[in-house]
Symmetry: C2
Subunit: 514 residues, 2 copies
């Protein structure tokens, strides 16, 4: 199993690099910094698509996007608790002095989460399991130290840190939102942006890196109204793959249960929080992750952050790394606003209609963008037999980084000119590229490797009859469509509004031309 | 003049804050860090629009987007020269010890750029003009020191810096591009992302801040082919507002001259570079900046970066700060690839068809996103008489942060339900929001303050006849349109494909209802 995964990962990483998806660790020419990656042309197109999907789902559910700074003065991180407590627990080899995360050493050995262990419990587990330094097999110094995850900087003379999450920074302008939204709760806001963590052991490709993109949505809500949530009614019958912590402990599988039933069973406490779980799940479905590869895992009471009232993760099953945490949904109570009000001495309460004051609670949906991008590539990448091209990206058509490619059949001026014109006509509405190099068969293969759903070929008939051939990625079937209808036909095809065979005149293709 | 500007700026800044465009310096509740800002809900919508316009213009001109890390090891900045030379020149007050940028102190007094002065020239100018400490009026310590603009950090134990531009980082994966694009020059790539500069004196709102967003496009080109640029032919007749450095010195105004003529006059050296100037100008026109507010200023030979073969800026005229540099177009020659090849010992050359090797030159178009966002607000913000609402945002319809607002005439369930349905139907295609609070007149005023082009009102007739009223922001005219036609009509209106009066049945509005 482990070996199979390692082989897959090797082959998959080289696909990511050769096809322009993800390069790194960056900067490669200088040997690379562990935990930093570069999105190549294909990877960036895909990442933009995912970010836009996320943005549009949040916006249509009444969240407003913000952009706050990445660098903040340390008083913010003192108030949030990050400066004192956001740290890896490390242990040092007595001989080679190499440093490792104590929890990861144990988890690699016993295959169980030990996040919630005390320092003493970690030391005990290292002794009991006789764990030695992975580099030189010597004993560890019997002492757990903390390595802060905060990346520090100075703004001229003042101590500051790069944010390790967007959430904290999103809470700070609460008074601004409260005034912009005319003093009414609930208020929904979100950010998509870079965050930084000084991980001791960055690992699993972009899954645990040092610089990554987070999408984090926050609802400020009156704690007395957590069970009054109109939008709950629209989604309560939807079934999600819930895995409460008791079922995890007793070895049961996740079960498909309606959001409403999950509340009745006591798995979820409030309608507003339940709706957040539903929305987070919906985000991942909309990103194109297959439902069978998703489960909702509740945190064990020992595992939750100290301020969290409840916490569930979305996990996605990867071929390279197995079930992987990709999203957290948290009821953070009034922890954040209370802390920042205390440290800033600014009142961060809201006023109810009856005049009484309340510090809003925060419900949070937090996920990375890099993980779902990697997940989509991991799930939909396929190795092929040599004669068909080496690889295929079987990604859902709507998520394809490049949607349309335009090929002149051969390099004749009349075809090149028309091909260029067809491309120009489509580029406001689609991600479209142009390729004139090599045989048409080679170009089809290249397009399949990049997961392009539709290729348009411009031939001599195109010049005469003003039509082109559209080839479908998955079936290699071809139809003939008028240039004037192209925009509408491609839109309908990508939105899955019509069948390919009905979208134009189906043409016979000899196996050679496929 | 100065006083007028200051008054405008005060009024304008409070508009930016109250209407949810830009807040700061952030974090406000902790007193604010100079040079850091937050985009509120309206500002972020506008910033996203600008970024998407930029993205789409670059993409349709064959540039591919990338995303590289923000944090890089210091060897990169050693090679690029930033670590040693990218610094402000500062001078310290002998009494109060306050620190100031020497060049800015002089420029504020003599209204002339002294960027290219030597340290000794700066000291002389301070003496000659009898410049004293702005804080306490004492003399300065007669010594120019360097304050690095690099924001430093550590990745565990290694020295690293936050990038002060995206360009350098974009050059590092050259070998990856070269292979992805199958060994063919020219190659066009771009990035849109955050950069950080430890400015001694952040000033002029987001114009000179410490954390900001850059859009930087790079063309890798064979130096022998800088004059072979096919796309030049399509644009050579376009007239741009050129201001060569000789004309600046002789006190002439910029002149509207075709790109082709600018080459003939010797203002521009190569067709490829001339096309870059044209593309940069096109970006600003597409962002909605009025042509009359743009000029192209050539750098004086003393002012150019030491590695730059030629350098022109795009300047935009702001009501708050006058003519403001918003974009630079540079011929960076082979400086960057040569440096990084030397420091990394990796070959960064390309191979010509005849087998000979060449280190590509780089043509760069670099601009911030924050400056054009501020420029649009600065140019299109209008103060109004009290009875019409206090302010108006007269932004071009295509650039409006919110494109459509939906209002139920009054809070009756049938109207609320239909309004919600109309909104849902539009939200995949437009930025659309919903407002039910206050009289319809008040809601119209609020929409005008935010620059919303079209408001849809749902009344009792809407329920019966399945149509709505569309109100035009600038004329307050109203038309009646079928709900089933809304998407198409709004699209055509925003694309300026039809006249408002022809887009539906014009209805009479009493002045009261306007």
């Amino acid at each position: 199993m482990q070996k199979e995964r390692e082989e897959f990962l090797k082959e998959f990483t080289s696909f990511l690099q050769d096809r322009g998806f993800i390069w790194g660790p960056s900067p490669e020419i200088y040997g690379g910094f562990a935990g930093f990656y570069t999105y190549g042309p294909m990877g960036k197109l895909l990442k933009n698509k995912i970010e836009n999907t996320v943005r549009s789902i949040f916006q249509s559910n009444n969240f407003w996007e913000l952009e706050t700074p990445i660098v903040l003065p340390d008083i913010v991180w003192k108030a949030s608790g990050h400066l004192d407590t956001f740290a890896d627990r490390i242990i040092r080899c007595s001989k080679c002095k190499a440093v490792f995360r104590a929890d990861k050493l144990i988890e690699d050995r016993i295959d169980k989460s030990v996040d919630h262990y005390s320092d003493q419990q970690l030391l005990n587990a290292i002794s009991e399991n006789n764990i030695k330094c992975p580099s030189c097999s010597s004993d560890f110094v019997y002492d757990i130290k903390k390595q802060s995850l905060m990346m520090k900087t100075k703004v001229i003379d003042e101590d500051a840190s790069l944010r390790p999450e967007t959430a904290t920074v999103t809470y700070l302008p609460f008074r601004r939102y409260y005034s912009f939204f005319r003093g009414k709760l609930p208020i929904g806001v979100f950010q998509i942006g870079k965050v930084f963590r000084n991980e001791v052991s960055p690992r699993q490709h972009v899954i645990r890196s040092r610089e990554f993109t987070q999408a984090e949505a926050q609802i400020f809500i009156d704690p007395e109204k957590k069970n009054e949530w109109e939008k709950f009614e629209d989604v309560k019958k939807d079934k999600l793959p819930f895995w409460p912590w008791q079922d995890q402990e007793s070895g049961k599988d996740p079960s498909s249960v309606s959001v409403e039933a999950a509340i009745k069973k006591g798995w979820l406490k409030t309608k507003s929080y339940a709706w957040c779980i539903w929305l987070a799940y919906t985000q991942f479905i909309n990103m194109g992750i297959p439902p069978g590869s998703i489960r909702l895992r509740q945190h064990n009471p020992d595992e939750k952050a100290f301020y969290a009232e409840d916490a569930w993760d979305i996990e996605v099953k990867l071929r390279s790394f197995g079930w992987t945490e990709c999203c957290g949904v948290h009821d953070r109570t009034d922890y954040d606003l209370t802390q920042h009000s205390k440290f800033s001495k600014v009142n961060l309460s809201a006023t109810r209609e009856d005049g009484s004051k309340v510090t809003p609670h925060v419900l949070e949906i937090a996920f990375g963008i890099d993980r779902p991008v990697l997940a989509l590539l991991d799930i939909f990448y396929e190795k092929r037999e040599k004669e068909e091209g080496k690889t295929l990206l079987n990604i859902p058509y709507k998520l394809a980084p490049i949607e349309v490619m335009v090929f002149p059949l051969i390099k004749k001026p009349s075809l090149l000119k028309l091909a260029e014109k067809v491309k120009k006509g489509l580029e406001n509405d689609f991600v479209v590229t142009y390729d004139e190099a090599g045989s048409i068969g080679k170009r089809y293969l290249r397009s399949t490797e990049l997961g392009v759903p539709y290729c348009l070929t411009i031939d001599f008939d195109s010049v005469k009859k003003k039509d082109v051939t559209i080839r479908d990625r998955n079936t290699a079937k071809q139809i003939r469509v008028k240039i004037s209808d192209l925009k509408e036909v491609l839109r309908k095809l990508l939105e899955n509004e019509i069948k390919f065979e009905k979208a134009g005149k189906l043409i016979k293709v000899s196996s050679l031309e496929k």
